[in-house]
Symmetry: C2
Subunit: 134 residues, 2 copies
């Protein structure tokens, strides 16, 4: 039940982009430095964020990344989902049928509600909210 470094870094990186109002690309190295994130690890994370259309990459000199959408339209859920792959708290919720009790599970209702509760929260807040201090 821990938030991974990857998720934390993804959020912090997106936050750095969101804070910048110049709308010019910011390089991975600058963000890595500002947020104390290992450079090469962050490069990987940006690659994922780009593939999920959360950022746009600008190649070449003076290149970098910018947000794909306005900060008030990017939810925390989207960022975490991209970084983590999914937002399911337990594998049966993503269709892992290897569980003995997959088709008759006394906990499925509970897990489903719990997961929905979490996702509802993460969907509610955007990057803009973090900038405003939550």
């Amino acid at each position: 039940m821990q938030i991974s470094k990857k998720c934390e870094y993804a959020l912090r990186a997106m936050y750095e982009l969101a804070k910048d109002k110049t709308n010019t690309p910011i390089s991975v190295s600058k963000i890595a430095e500002r947020q104390c994130i290992p450079y090469k690890f962050l490069e990987q994370i940006f690659s994922i964020l780009r593939k999920h259309n959360l950022v746009k990459g600008v190649s070449g000199k003076n290149g970098g990344y910018i947000l794909y959408s306005p900060a008030n339209q990017i939810t925390i859920a989207e960022i975490l989902k991209a970084a983590e792959g999914n937002l399911n708290i337990i594998s049966c919720l993503q269709g892992d049928e290897t569980c003995q009790f997959f088709h008759n599970c006394d906990f499925k209702n509970f897990w489903t509600k719990f997961n929905a509760h979490i996702i509802e929260f993460l969907n509610f807040f955007t990057l803009e909210d973090i900038i405003k201090g939550v």
Copy 2:
């Protein structure tokens, strides 16, 4: 952000005890069999649950475990917290000062709220609720 097997097993084990209305001890081996949990792993889990006063152990032949309190007084939060050690979603919330931003973190408000949201949910439901179908 995944629920560990340990947590899942702890919940299932507690649930097995809660379902039994005879109030006589149930052995680890019976619960392991009923819930398809590796026996020795489950023994360890019960040891933890006992230390957290969630179950009482009865040694010797015909021994086993019984719930420490009525099922409607044992919350899911208590069980998960015992199994996991804590319910913090991110290490800074449990006082990990190694983070660069420990004293000035733009995300602390958000994580605190998120964590509270999760714990509130887990505190609300008891074992009895699971038996009733959530």
